[in-house]
């Protein structure tokens, strides 16, 4: 498919991204000039050994952290140097995050967790006015990820796979442009993991959602359109998926 149609415009790119962690005297050069390009509607997976800096790269792409050098660009515009408020807003509107450990808020039930990005986006008054519409949207999403019967459950009452589905629902409720998934299957058994990947594939197909998925599992990575390997702080090997 990808080789027939003209190459879509790049969506999220990193230019010579470098990140070094300093701990007193010893410093770890995790990323040393990472150039990565994510095209619109692409499902990209990053593989690499544990500790190779995959999560670091993803955090930089998602503006959770700022690079020491290099740039992150969204639709060609640099975004990593923007003021904190704007970056907060971009995180809320443009990016969706899915983490290895699900990272749902334990005090909120699943539907509230799904709604939380919208609670952050809207003022109390606005949220109150639109609460029915928003709740409906959230429950639709939960139904879509197969959790229609779990909406009022607290995170500690459901299984890992269900948590990850809820986390995906949460990342989708803001209708993001890019989904950043950090080892979404890392904590799940193989079958459940496959289910999650299928869900991501579906989203990618149906909504043309751009996805960056980090994993250390090559069999999982193979489900993406394109795989890159991160090693020694650089994008080392590029492999286009042959459908």
């Amino acid at each position: 498919m990808a080789d027939v149609v003209p190459v879509p415009p790049s969506h999220l790119t990193s230019v010579a991204l470098g990140k070094t962690y300093r701990n007193g005297a010893n410093c770890v050069e995790v990323l040393q000039g990472v150039n990565l390009e994510l095209r619109k509607g692409e499902f990209l997976s990053i593989i690499g050994q544990s500790g190779s800096g995959k999560s670091t790269l993803l955090h930089l792409l998602g503006l959770l952290d700022s690079p020491d050098i290099g740039e992150v660009r969204l639709d060609g515009k640099r975004i990593d140097h923007l003021p904190a408020k704007t970056r907060d807003d971009l995180r809320n509107r443009v990016f969706g995050f899915v983490f290895q450990f699900y990272h749902l808020l334990p005090e909120l039930n699943l539907i509230e967790n799904v709604l939380s990005p919208l609670m952050i986006r809207y003022s109390t008054w606005e949220y109150w006015k639109r609460r029915h519409e928003l709740k409906e949207k959230a429950s639709d999403l939960l139904v879509r990820v197969g959790l229609g019967h779990r909406m009022k459950h607290k995170p500690n009452q459901v299984s890992g796979g269900e948590l990850q589905r809820a986390a995906i629902a949460r990342s989708l409720i803001t209708e993001p442009e890019v989904l950043l998934a950090d080892e979404p299957t890392g904590n799940l058994d193989v079958d459940t993991g496959k289910g999650i990947i299928e869900l991501l594939n579906q989203l990618n197909d149906e909504q043309q959602l751009s996805i960056v998925m980090v994993t250390h599992d090559e069999s999982i990575a193979r489900r993406a359109q394109r795989i890159v390997r991160l090693s020694h702080g650089q994008i080392e090997c590029l492999r286009e998926k042959v459908a």
């Binding site: 999560s55 955090h59 998602g62 959770l64 952290d65 904190a84 408020k85 907060d88 807003d89 971009l90 995180r91 809320n92 509107r93 995050f97 983490f99 450990f101 990272h103 749902l104 808020l105 334990p106 005090e107 909120l108 509230e112 939380s116 990005p117 609670m119 952050i120 986006r121 809207y122 003022s123 109390t124 949220y127 109150w128 949460r170």
Partner: protein, 552 residues
């Protein structure tokens, strides 16, 4: 929006937060209770000081006073008549009180205030301070009914009960003396020695306050040479001697000429602290008051004449009533006496014109709020080189200021309780922030701003403060409302009277709830809660999302 939801969830799920709510609540409740009781007491105290004095007091600097009471009153009425409701002249002077108790002579320094009780009752609620107008309750039960009707104008006559006591006592004394006289006669017949010691033993059993021989000496002769001479050196023993001799044969004879039970010319209302002392009942362990003298007894009063040089002026007086304001400063210092007798004894009545000198005027105003204005008016006729014209607050300024300082210090100390609660909040919040590190990272990854994270914890602190101080206000007000019931329970549990009405002269614990105090205490507590949460909230806000997200 998320701030409130999360804040509310944290409140509901963190029971540790309840601890800080409770500490805030207790602090607020304590402050409200203590302040209410303190202002209740101090309000009562001010009322008493006010009642004892008058709205405005004009005093001469000299103890000799100024001549012509009527003129002074007229002057005062001329310049401020429109404001004045009543004026009463008084003479205030220092003196000494002697009386015999259990064979010992008690001597106390006093401030002697000559008043006209009817006039004094018009400028202040004199009745409220006199024991015989009160019923006495103990543990809620009536022990003694009031001895006078509430509408009886205060006067210098004994209540019927006191009169009965006096008759009894005098009869008993007479009987003793007759016995002794008979014994003397027998002994004289037998010509034997040694009976003196026996009779001394007997006098020790019976309390004899004052005896008649001195009366004849002093009465009518204000400056009594013989007594004055002996009493000048070393206080107790020497002046006592003329009263101590119950064997003087002149005494009964003199009495028989007139009414044997007649009161002395001097009449006094004596402060309770001067004639009583508290002691612990060895059987029950209860605190009781031992009366060393009571209405109907005679005492000796010494003061100085208004002459130059001032001379010693002793005279005898009958206790007509016991005066109890609940203020130690007054109760163990003040003796009210009949004005005319004091003026006579002190030689303040001009032999030529018959005009009487006074040292001060007590003035009651129609509107007590105008006292400052009236003081200004009065100063024009009472020059400051001779007089001081003051409102009662000014006159008692140091005492009132002391109470104010006391309550301010107490408030500071109590506020420290809430500050301690504040540190509790700080510690607990800090803990919660650490515990919630991951959640903070999640919220940030979802787009929450640092200020948004901060406001979660600030509103959490505010919520704790609001809930805590709200509950504290309710608890405090309930406590104040039921304070007397609580006191009863405490008394029952401990077996000791917590609030002894015989000491304070209040039937109940006085309380005064000031809304402004409650509001400021509640706001203060909320402020402290918010302040205490600033530090943890800032820490939460500055937390790097990535660090927290890496954790499982």
């Amino acid at each position: 929006m998320y701030k409130f939801l999360i804040c509310q969830r944290y409140l509901r799920t963190r029971f540790i937060a309840l601890a800080s709510v409770i500490s805030v609540m207790l602090g607020v409740a304590t402050m409200i209770v203590v302040n209410s009781v303190m202002s209740g007491f101090s309000g009562q105290m001010q009322e008493r000081i006010h009642g004892l004095l008058a709205d405005v007091v004009v005093e001469s600097h000299s103890l000799d006073g100024v001549a012509d009471a009527d003129l002074q009153i007229r002057l005062a009425r001329e310049v401020a008549g429109g404001y004045i409701e009543a004026i009463t002249p008084t003479v205030e002077v220092y003196g000494m009180l002697n009386f015999n108790f259990a064979g010992q002579w008690i001597t106390k320094p006093i401030t002697l205030i000559g008043i006209d009780p009817a006039g004094k009752a018009k400028v202040g609620p004199l009745r409220d301070f006199l024991d015989s107008y009160h019923s006495i309750y103990k543990n809620g039960k009536l022990v003694r009914k009031s001895l006078r009707k509430p509408n009886e104008v205060p006067n210098w006559n004994l209540s019927p009960e006191a009169m009965e006591y006096r008759r009894d006592k005098i009869d008993r004394q007479k009987w003793y003396q007759e016995q002794l006289a008979a014994l003397d006669r027998e002994e004289a017949e037998k010509r034997e020695e040694g009976s003196a010691s026996e009779s001394e033993n007997k006098t020790e059993i019976q309390t004899v306050a004052a005896e008649q021989p001195s009366e004849t000496v002093i009465d009518g002769v204000p400056v009594s040479e013989p007594v004055g001479d002996i009493s000048e050196p070393a206080g107790d023993e020497l002046p006592a001697s003329p009263f101590m001799n119950p064997f003087d044969n002149n005494a009964p004879q003199k009495k028989e000429e007139t009414d044997p039970y007649a009161l002395m010319d001097g009449r006094i209302y004596v402060g309770i602290g001067l004639i009583s002392y508290p002691y612990k009942d060895p059987e029950t362990g209860e605190m009781k008051t031992m009366m060393m003298a009571r209405p109907g007894d005679d005492v000796r009063i010494s003061t100085v004449t208004a002459g130059r040089p001032p001379e010693h002026a002793p005279y005898l007086a009958t206790i007509v009533d016991v005066f109890k304001s609940g203020m130690t400063e007054y109760d163990s210092n003040l003796v009210f006496c009949n004005l005319e007798e004091l003026q006579k004894v002190r030689g303040m009545i001009s032999p030529v014109t018959g005009k009487k000198a006074i040292t001060s005027l007590h003035i009651k105003l129609k509107d007590p709020d105008q006292s400052q204005l009236v003081v200004e008016h009065l100063k024009s006729v009472f020059p400051s080189d001779q007089f001081s014209v003051r409102t009662w607050e000014q006159k008692q300024g140091p005492l009132l200021a002391a109470v104010e300082i006391e309550s301010a210090i107490l408030n500071v100390l109590l506020f420290l309780i809430i500050a301690v609660a504040g540190f509790g909040i700080l510690a607990i919040f800090y803990m919660i922030v650490v515990e919630k590190t991951r959640d903070i990272g999640i919220l940030k990854s979802l787009g929450a701003s640092s200020s948004g994270i901060m406001s979660i914890f600030l509103s959490y602190g505010l919520a704790l403060g609001v809930v805590g101080s709200g509950a504290g206000v309710v608890l405090g007000l309930l406590f104040v409302h039921y304070i007397n019931e609580i006191e009863e329970v405490l008394t029952y549990l401990t077996g000791r009277k917590v609030f002894d009405e015989t000491i304070y002269y209040f039937p109940e614990i006085p309380t005064l709830v000031q809304p402004s105090m409650i509001i400021s205490v509640a706001l203060g507590a909320m402020l402290i809660a918010v302040l205490a949460s600033i530090f943890p909230a800032r820490r939460a806000a500055s937390m790097h999302p990535v660090v927290s997200l890496r954790r499982e």
